[in-house]
């Protein structure tokens, strides 16, 4: 779960919902201090927008106009809790929380690959301009469970089926591009192979030395 790869800029997948957002404000602050043309990006879901850290981070980030992008992947579900049970705002309007902090809001359909790409570019540009951070609101859909093996007893099976059939971003992109089957199959198998190779690599790994548990407690 806790994947970090500092070399590619991944500062960790946080097990605490909204726990990593302040750190992104701080990283962006550091870029600002050092004059580096970089942005710091936080990814989180609709559930995270209720946490104190989210609000404090947006407040401080906007106050100091740090080069940060707060990406809200809003699929309307916080684990098993639908948005109507966790937020007083209508689920489609969750992005407006940015406005409470005077922050720039960019909203797009999260299932449209090209739109998302363009929105991300725009967010980055805005953040780097010194005008302040951006809340990038991607309205999306959760096509699987919260975790692998989640039976989703709390979800309408019909609705889930419908979404799978109509909201798959890869399918949507493929039909817009009018991609021939062979080409699609080729890309698909290439990606599948890469993923499976990674899984095999992980499975074949050896156990760590138990005493390494103490290795990185302190720098």
């Amino acid at each position: 779960m806790h994947l970090y790869d500092v070399e590619v800029g991944l500062l960790g997948a946080n097990a605490v919902v909204a726990g990593g957002i302040p750190g992104i404000v701080g990283s962006a602050l550091a870029f600002q201090f050092k004059g580096e043309q970089r942005v710091a990006v936080a990814f989180f879901g609709d559930g995270a927008t209720n946490a104190g850290t989210f609000h404090e981070s947006l407040n401080l980030g906007q106050l100091w106009k740090v080069p940060a992008v707060f990406v809200l992947e809003n699929n309307g579900w916080a684990e098993s809790t639908p948005a109507v049970q966790h937020s007083p705002l209508p689920v489609d309007e969750l992005g407006k929380r940015a406005l409470a902090y005077g922050m720039k809001l960019i909203e797009v359909d999260g299932q449209d690959v090209e739109l998302v790409y363009l929105a991300a570019l725009a967010s980055r540009e805005h953040a780097l301009s010194g005008k302040g951070p951006v809340l990038l609101h991607l309205r999306t859909h959760r096509l699987t469970g919260h975790y692998v093996g989640d039976p989703q007893v709390y979800r309408d099976k019909e609705e889930l089926k419908r979404e799978r059939e109509t909201k798959d971003p890869i399918e949507l992109l493929r039909s817009r591009l009018e991609l021939p089957d062979e080409e699609f199959a080729a890309i698909d198998s290439e990606v599948t192979a890469e993923v499976e190779a990674a899984v095999e690599f992980a499975k074949a790994g050896t156990d760590p030395d138990p005493e390494d548990a103490l290795k990185w407690v302190y720098a």
């Binding site: 302040p22 602050l29 407040n59 106050l63 990185w216």
Partner: protein, 326 residues
Amino acid sequence: MPEVTYREAVRDALSRALREDEGVFLMGEDIAEMGGSMAVTQGLLEEFGAKRIRNTPISEMAIVGTAIGAAMQGMRPIVEIMYEDFLTLSMEQLVNQAAKHRTMSGGQLKVPLTIRTQGGAGWSPGAQHAQQLEAWFVHVPGLKVVFASTPEDVRGLLWTAIHDDNPVVFFEHRTLYPVKGEVPDELEPIPLGKARIHREGTDVTVIATGRLVHEALQAAEEAEKDGISVEVVDPRTLLPLDEEAIVASVRKTTRCVTAHEAVTRAGFGAELAAIVQHGAFDWLDAPIERVGARFAPLPFAPVMEQWVVPHAADVLDAVRRTVARA
């Protein structure tokens, strides 16, 4: 040797660090124009400017979390948390994030963050403005905890804490801010994890922190009149702890008293007692005594506050109990 107050000693360490390293900056509530609620950061805004001496909203989670982020990117932020009671608001970031990033990233990240805070009773601040919570942080792998009690120690240790690549929770004591003490002309960094023996003795070791170091020294003077020779040891760094020095002292005296202003139950004295019991078991000639506050939220009424919080007389009583006869 020049004499400075504890407060001036802290400011001195901060100033020197700010001067020498561009990556050092301060964040906290009211630390800029006002110079901090304890007047520690007075003058720093003028010298270093608003970019590096930053007032923040009342937002402890974001303050600490932002500092964590900046630290991960190689800067050396110093956060001032106005009262250590408010550390509770930042616990999630301090405990779940700052303390964990290095381990969870397999050594890829480090968090060279310093959190300065203060606490201390004696002026009717009430239950939410005077807690002593250092024991909570000693319990978190990944953090370091410092609690200096003299101007010389606070200056030398703060310098080291700022330059340590780990998150350090640096406790100051409110009532010690105006206390004067001699400091070397040049700032001498004091290593973390080294105790200081303030007074040598042969009959009982008192391990004290913060304000209680001074109370213990007073109690030692009194005890001397009764022919009881008291050794006073200040661990200075609570995590990592100088276990060797502490155990050696008790092996020498055969009796031990721990003393802190924090509540006795599950306080740092309990950890000290466990370490001493184990390291000096066959040398102990009396049960280990713990001195600390009574188990109640700190009262506002002065007479009640006085009664709840420990003083020199309590240390003296504990000393006497260790050498008592039937």
